[in-house]
Symmetry: C2
Subunit: 421 residues, 2 copies
C-alpha cells in the first residue's frame, strides 16, 4: 500500500464520459489498496472560456484589482471539475471528497495569476485518506494570507500535484495527460521523435523550461527540490489495463543517473516560440547594471529566461534578455519609463518574432564539441544565430522563428535521436 | 447617501453584454453617492449546465456526500459571475471587489443543497464600502462550520441579498429581475393580469409560497423578520434611466397596511404545480401521530407544505400533506420503511398530478364569504377540489393539475383582478 498522487489534465477531464473513465481508473488504484489523492485540471476549454468572458468585459485592464478578480474567476473551473470527479467516484461506489485550495489549506503568496505555493496543510487530507476516501484537491489554485483566491498560472495544476505529493511524502506522482510520455522532441514537428522510458530530472527541467509542453517547469523544480518521483503517462489507455503495466508506462523522471542515460549525449531537442527578445543598448558598463535592469523587471513579477551580457566596448555594453511574449510590451514600457533615465542607456529594442531551440543531454557534461556540432548544423542550414546561452547539460540558441521547424528537424537527425537506442 | 443592496437574477447576468449593463446601472447608483452591495446570480443556464453534468455522472445518488459535492459544484456559477461583474465595474472605472460566501463570511448550517444562513460578518464589506468600492457578494451560497461550501437551494440568491441587506441594515434591497414587478397572477396564464405598485409583506409571503416565481419565499420571510424594505423591479429598462424614476418603479413589498390595500379583497391568484400529494391511510387516531409522521419527514430535510388531518371515524383517520414533487418518492419510501410499521397505519398513497391554486388578499381578514365564492367559481367550472387549506389572508385548494389554467383564469376574472384599481 502506498500513497500516490494522480494528476489529470484538462483533456483527460474534457467530458463527463472522460471524467467517468478517470473515476474508474482512480477507483482501480484505490481498490488495489493504495491511498489516492487526485489533482484534476479544469475541463478542457473551460479556463479559456472564463478568461474570454473577462476579456470581453475588460480588454485592457492590467492592475492588481483586476488580477484578483481574474483569479477568483479562473479558479472556478477546477472547483467544478473536482466536484464532478468526486460525484463520479461516488457513483462508482468509491467514497470521495473534493477540496478547493482554500479548504485544504494551500497557502500561496499574493502574486495574482502567478502565485507561488508557500505551504500545504495535510491534516484534513490525511484524515480522509485514513478513513478510506479518495481525496480530490483542485489544482492551479490556493489562497493568500488575506483570504483571497490565487492561481498559479497556466499549467499550475502540475505544480499543485507535485507540491501536494511532496507535502504528503507520496510514493509517486503520476501526471496523466494526453501524450504517453516525454519524447526526444515534439512529434508534431519531427514525426521520427521517440518516447524516452526515463529522463533525468535535470534534463526534464531543461526540456520543460524550453517549452516541451508536457510538464510545467515549476512542477519539475518542485519535484527536484523535494525528490518526488514523477511519471508522465497517458490517460487515454483503457482504464482497466493491468495496474502493474500502467505503473511502468510513460516516462519516469528519475533522480539517479543510471548506465543507460550515459549512452545518449543528447536526449532531446526542445523549442519555444513564446518568448520575445529585449535589448537595452549602450549601457554604461558599471557595476550593478544587471541588477538595475532585471531588478525592476522582477519587481513587476515578469519572468526572465535567457540573459546575455557581452563584453563592453568604449565603456558601453548591450544587455539582452528574453521574456514571455505577453510581457514584452509591458517590459519595454517599464524599461523606458523607470530604468533608462536612471541608467543613462541609449535605447530599448525588442523582437517578438524569435524562437529558442535547445539541445539537452546529461551526456554533454562529459563530451566536448557538442555545442559546436549544433552551431555547424544550423550554419549548414543557413540559419543565423542571434543569441547563445549554455549550461552544463543544455545549449540554447535564439533564432528567427521562421526557422524553428527546420532547425529542430536538422538537429534531431544530426544527433541520431530518430535511431532506436 | 444610503447603503443599498442590488440583486440581479440569472437572466440579467445572462451574457457579457448584460453584465456590462448591470455594471453601468450599479455604477450610476454608486456615482449618485450611494454605497452599493451587489448580489448576482449565476449566468442563466449555468447552474443547470453544472447540475446536468453531475446528473450525467450520477443519475441516482442522493446521500450527503453527494449533496456536499453538488454544492461545491453549483457554487462555482455565482463565483464566476461575481468576478465577471467586478471586472466589468472596474472597466467602467468603478472600484469593485467580489467575495465568495466563505470570504465574507456567510455562515450557514450544513444542510447541503438547502442550507440556511446563520450569520453574516459585515466587517470586510463595510471596510470596502467605506473605501469607496462596490462590493459584490456571491448569492446562493455560504460555508458551514466544517469549512464546506453550502448552497441555499434554488432561488437562494434572493435570500442571500435580503440577509445581507439585513446584516448591513441597508436602506432598501432592490431585486432586479426579468419581470417589472409582482402581478395579480402570472400574465402567461392570464394576459389581463395587472402589476401591483405595492403589496403587503404578508400577501407577498403567501404569493411567494404559492409559487409566484418572482421571489423566493425564504427571502420574503427574511425581509419580514428583519423589516428589510424590498422592491422587485426590471433589469431590462435602459441602465441610464433617471435614478429617481428607477427607485420608484416595480413593486414595493410594504410593511405597513395603507388605505389603498384595504380596497382590494383579493390581491392575487397564486398557483403551483411543483407539489405532490401524499396520504397516510388508516392511521390509529392517537396523540402524536402528526409528529410521528412529519417529524420523520422533517428529519430527512424534506419541506412539507399543505397539511390536512380530518376527523377520525372508527378510531382511524387519514393524514395528508404535500411535498415538492422531487421529494415525493423519497418521502413515500421513508414512510413505508420507517413510519408505517411503528404507526400501524394501513397504506401510503401519493399523487404527483396535482396543483395548488390560492387566492391571496389582506382584505380577506375583514370580509366574509370570500372562500365560499372561490369554491362556487370552481364548482361552476366543474373542477373537483381534493384538499382545502386556509389562513387569515389566503385560501388554497389542491386540484387536478389539468384544471390549473382554467381555475386561475376563472378566479382572476371573478375577483375583478382584470379591472383597473
Amino acid at each position: 500500500m502506498a500513497l500516490i498522487v494522480h494528476k489529470y489534465g484538462g483533456t483527460s477531464m474534457g467530458s463527463t464520459e472522460r471524467i467517468r473513465n478517470v473515476a474508474k481508473r482512480v477507483a482501480k488504484w484505490a481498490r488495489a489498496g493504495h491511498q489516492i489523492v487526485v489533482v484534476p485540471s479544469a475541463m478542457s476549454g473551460e479556463t479559456n472560456r472564463l478568461l474570454g468572458l473577462a476579456k470581453e468585459l475588460s480588454p485592457s485592464k492590467q492592475d492588481d484589482a483586476y488580477a484578483r478578480e481574474l483569479d477568483a474567476l479562473a479558479a472556478t473551473g477546477e472547483q467544478a471539475s473536482s466536484a464532478l470527479l468526486a460525484i463520479a467516484l461516488q457513483a462508482e461506489g468509491m467514497p470521495a471528497v473534493s477540496y478547493a485550495g482554500w479548504q485544504v489549506t494551500i497557502k500561496t503568496n499574493s502574486a495574482f495569476t502567478k502565485a507561488r505555493i508557500e505551504s500545504i496543510d495535510d491534516k484534513r487530507v490525511r484524515a480522509d485518506l485514513d478513513a478510506g476516501k479518495v481525496v480530490i484537491i483542485t489544482g492551479f489554485q490556493g489562497v493568500d494570507d488575506g483570504g483571497n483566491v490565487t492561481t498559479l498560472g497556466r499549467g499550475g495544476s502540475d505544480t499543485s500535484a507535485v507540491a501536494i505529493a511532496a507535502a504528503l511524502k507520496a510514493h509517486e506522482c503520476l501526471i496523466y495527460t494526453d501524450v504517453d510520455g516525454v519524447y526526444t522532441t515534439d512529434p508534431r514537428v519531427v514525426p521520427e521523435a521517440r518516447r524516452l522510458a526515463t529522463v533525468s530530472f535535470e534534463e526534464m527541467l531543461e526540456m520543460a523550461s524550453m517549452g516541451s509542453k508536457v510538464l510545467q517547469i515549476r512542477s519539475v523544480e518542485f519535484a527536484g527540490k523535494y525528490k518526488v518521483p514523477l511519471r508522465v503517462l497517458s490517460s487515454f489507455t483503457d482504464w482497466d489495463i493491468d495496474i502493474n503495466e500502467e505503473a511502468k508506462s510513460g516516462t519516469l523522471i528519475s533522480f539517479e543517473e543510471d548506465e543507460k542515460m550515459e549512452q545518449a549525449i543528447v536526449s532531446g531537442i526542445a523549442f519555444n516560440r513564446d518568448e520575445a527578445k529585449i535589448s537595452v543598448l549602450g549601457v554604461p558598463d558599471t557595476p550593478g547594471i544587471a541588477y538595475q535592469i532585471l531588478g525592476a523587471v522582477a519587481d513587476a513579477n515578469i519572468e526572465v529566461d535567457v540573459i546575455i551580457q557581452n563584453i563592453s566596448r568604449d565603456g558601453k555594453t548591450d544587455f539582452s534578455f528574453t521574456v514571455n511574449r505577453n510581457d514584452c510590451a509591458k517590459t519595454v514600457e517599464l524599461l523606458n519609463t523607470k530604468v533608462l533615465p536612471k541608467l543613462g542607456a541609449e535605447d530599448v529594442i525588442s523582437d517578438t518574432k524569435i524562437c529558442k531551440v535547445s539541445i539537452v543531454g546529461i551526456g554533454m557534461r562529459s563530451h566536448v564539441g557538442v555545442a559546436s556540432k549544433m552551431f555547424r548544423i544550423l550554419s549548414e542550414e543557413g540559419i543565423n544565430i542571434q543569441m547563445i546561452s549554455t549550461s552544463e547539460i543544455k545549449t540554447s540558441v535564439v533564432i528567427d522563428e521562421k526557422y524553428m521547424e527546420l532547425a529542430v528537424r536538422a538537429l534531431h537527425k544530426a544527433f541520431d535521436l530518430d535511431q532506436p537506442v
